[in-house]
């Protein structure tokens, strides 16, 4: 027992250490972005997070996927209560250490975990079928090839395996509890409405082999969980953590209010008011070096957190008018590209390498994608965790227009018209009232 406790402690702390390193990297990478002030409306933010992330209010817009997701989500939270006992047992070399303290409640808890484990197995199986055998458009878009597709399937496999290990562990435990040899160590504890169906499979095996099955399942289960914890960083599954801060810091303004640029406001003030002091210190700190966004460090921190939080569910692209009509633009891809680019930058930082010459613009997101957006906000409205792909598109358009003067020709003509005669078409401003005389 002594040896296994030491082994457990080592494994546990290594896993937690790696996880902490991953979290630190994420925070460092997010902090590469510009500061943005979202410290306002605290109580509204708590409510929004509670409703959207905790309460999954946007998930149920699609009822089937929403219901399945809620099962997996509640199952995840509930079954993780058991994790506390597993970790304690691991450290102390005990077995079901909490059972004497909880009495009848313990039985209820274990039974609940088991029922949820079964529900999760069912839900995850349906998820897998939906993703792999049904032609649900959002799962088959070009950006979902290779790693994103594998990632989505791996998560489902891992969840299935973990649930089976959990049930096997309980089933063998239950068998051992009833075995005369096991009575002393395997205390009678727990109620096993699901795994008791597996127990008969062990009949006829020796006591020793069932003990080793129990131990193996116990170890694989906890090792699997610790491994999964460290897999998050590489996966869309990071949303199980980031959905919370992500919704908390969401944009709560009307969706039609696009971001305001104080830097431009200062320039405009100078142009409109000749008496203004051109050397006056800027009113906002961390002024951007240039207008708009060409790479991840021009984005703000909420936008970068958005990228790490994205679940790649594709609800945004599914409702995007451009994407629906076969244009290259996919708001999900905008988020995935942003994360990929940020990771690339992060990797170079980790290794102390010199930065490459790539940028988010052109090397990841093409101009064709950016100009296809109708700014309709459908993607923002649809996102179950309040991600705002449109803000990234708009910031990049701003870079294209203000820094590169490279808008499509027709748009340049439109803007010249506005500049010259105050309308997007070549009509004379003096004629604005002509309709009333026609």
């Amino acid at each position: 027992m002594y040896l296994s406790s030491i082994l457990f402690a080592v494994v546990f702390f290594v896993a937690i250490g790696m996880f902490t390193r991953n979290i630190r990297r994420i925070i460092r990478n997010i902090n590469l972005g510009r500061k943005t002030d979202r410290s306002d409306q605290k109580s509204k933010r708590w409510k929004h997070m509670t409703r959207v992330a905790l309460g999954q209010s946007k998930m149920v817009v699609l009822p089937i996927a929403g219901l399945l997701h809620i099962i997996v989500y509640i199952g995840f939270i509930v079954i993780n209560i058991e994790l506390l006992e597993i970790v304690l047992d691991g450290f102390l070399g005990t077995h079901r250490v909490l059972s004497p303290y909880l009495g009848g409640t313990y039985d209820v808890l274990i039974a609940t975990f088991e029922i949820f484990a079964l529900l999760v197995i069912l839900a995850v199986s349906v998820f897998w079928l939906r993703r792999n055998t049904m032609k649900i458009r959002r799962f088959w878009k070009p950006e979902m090839k290779r790693w994103p597709k594998k990632d989505a399937d791996y998560i489902l496999y891992i969840e299935l395996v973990l649930m089976f290990l959990f049930l096997t562990m309980n089933a063998s435990d239950y068998w051992l509890q009833q075995h005369p040899e096991g009575q002393s160590y395997y205390t009678q504890a727990g109620s096993f409405p699901v795994s008791s169906w597996i127990t008969p499979f062990f009949d006829g095996m020796s006591y020793a082999s069932v003990v080793s099955i129990e131990r193996t399942a116990w170890w694989l289960h906890i090792l699997g969980i610790l491994a999964f914890l460290n897999y998050l960083y590489y996966s869309k599954h990071l949303h199980i953590l980031l959905a919370f801060p992500n919704t908390f810091y969401a944009n709560l303004n009307p969706l039609g209010r696009f971001s305001h640029s104080e830097a431009v406001a200062n320039e405009v003030k100078l142009m409109m008011d000749p008496s203004a002091d051109p050397y006056a210190p800027p009113t906002v700190e961390s002024e951007p070096l240039h207008f708009g966004v060409s790479d991840v460090n021009d984005l703000n921190r909420v936008q970068l957190m958005n990228a790490y939080s994205c679940t790649e569910c594709g609800r945004c692209s599914d409702v995007c008018p451009a994407n629906q009509t076969g244009k290259k633009l996919s708001p999900r891809k905008i988020m995935m590209d942003t994360r990929d680019r940020l990771e690339q930058v992060g990797k170079q930082l980790n290794r102390g390498l010199e930065m490459d010459n790539n940028t988010l613009l052109d090397n990841y997101i093409s101009r064709e994608e950016l100009w296809a957006c109708t700014t309709c906000n459908a993607c923002v409205e649809a996102c179950p965790i309040s991600i705002d792909p449109l803000s990234i598109i708009m910031d990049m358009r701003q870079y294209l227009v203000l820094e590169q003067s490279s808008a499509p020709t027709e748009l340049n003509a439109m803007m010249t018209n506005i500049e010259n005669n105050g309308a997007p078409w070549p009509f004379n401003q003096q004629d604005r009232l002509n309709w009333s005389k026609e």
Binding site: K327, T375, D431, L433
Partner: protein, 266 residues
């Protein structure tokens, strides 16, 4: 009875000169001022304002583009120039309340002018018309020509999702005793007509369909007699879509103001 149709529309400048301050400023917008289809919406709305005896003014030659298409195209600079010029004019006349038939103007004036010093109460014309009816100032009870007719409403992105106004236009359609039929994607899920984000002024990127065709198909799927719009750009896009489908003689695309106004003036 006063003959409304010859009643000239007054500008803010004229009203101020006469020492009158109107209840509301009607922001006509570029489409409403210059585009032939949209001018009909402008006229229909003016007719309703006059019928309800609302004291209103327009800016006329002092009005300039709100800057919406510039901002959506990424030209924050041009947008702020336009906004500052307009705000100077509006504040000069001490305008408090603005109504407009264009959701893009509505959104920009309402949400993006305050940061630049323009604080106004801004209403979309469907909201204002709904208020007028509720207050008993505008009476449309006598209008029976829409009774039982199937009308579907296309949510403009900048009225709906951008500003969460889904009900005012629908309430007006119901007031006409028409049968309101909803499209497959409506309200929060409403599909864009394809004109927003400055797309109106350029060709679409390569794809396998035009957005306005997709949306028109959704509208036609409801078998409507009328497709109601609340935005001059949506109106044009859907009209083009209906024409493209060869349905223009059977299905009319009309602004809600046009539905409420006298039919003979359309």
């Amino acid at each position: 009875m006063m003959d409304n149709t010859t009643n000239p529309v007054q500008t803010m400048a004229e009203m101020t000169q006469n020492g009158v301050s109107p209840e509301v400023l009607f922001w006509v917008g570029c489409a409403g001022s210059f585009d032939d289809r949209s001018k009909k919406i402008t006229k229909a709305f003016v007719e309703l304002l006059q019928r309800a005896n609302v004291s209103f003014a327009v800016l006329g030659p002092e009005e300039s583009c709100t800057g919406d298409p510039a901002k959506r195209a990424g030209n924050e600079f041009l947008f702020q120039m336009q906004a500052s010029t307009n705000i100077e004019v509006l504040n000069g006349y001490q305008v408090k309340k603005i109504v407009t038939a264009c959701p893009h103007c509505f959104n920009t004036l309402k949400n993006e002018y305050p940061q630049l010093g323009g604080q106004y109460e801004v209403l979309h014309h469907t909201q204002f018309l709904h208020q007028l009816i509720e207050e008993g100032r505008l009476n449309i009870e006598s209008k029976t020509e829409y009774k039982g007719k199937k009308i579907t409403f296309h949510d403009p992105c900048y009225l709906g999702r951008a500003n969460k106004e889904y009900e005012a236009p629908r309430a007006l359609i119901k007031k006409l005793s028409a049968e309101l039929v909803e499209m497959k994607s409506c309200k929060e899920k409403g599909l864009c007509c394809g004109a927003g984000g400055a797309q109106m002024f350029k060709d679409a990127e390569k794809g396998d369909k035009e957005i306005n065709i997709e949306r028109t198909e959704q509208a036609l799927d409801t078998n409507p007699e009328i497709i109601a719009a609340g935005c001059p750009f949506c109106n044009t896009m859907l009209h083009d879509g209906v024409t493209n489908k060869g349905k223009e003689s059977k299905v009319a695309v009309l602004d809600i103001a046009q539905l409420l106004a006298q039919t003979e003036s359309l």
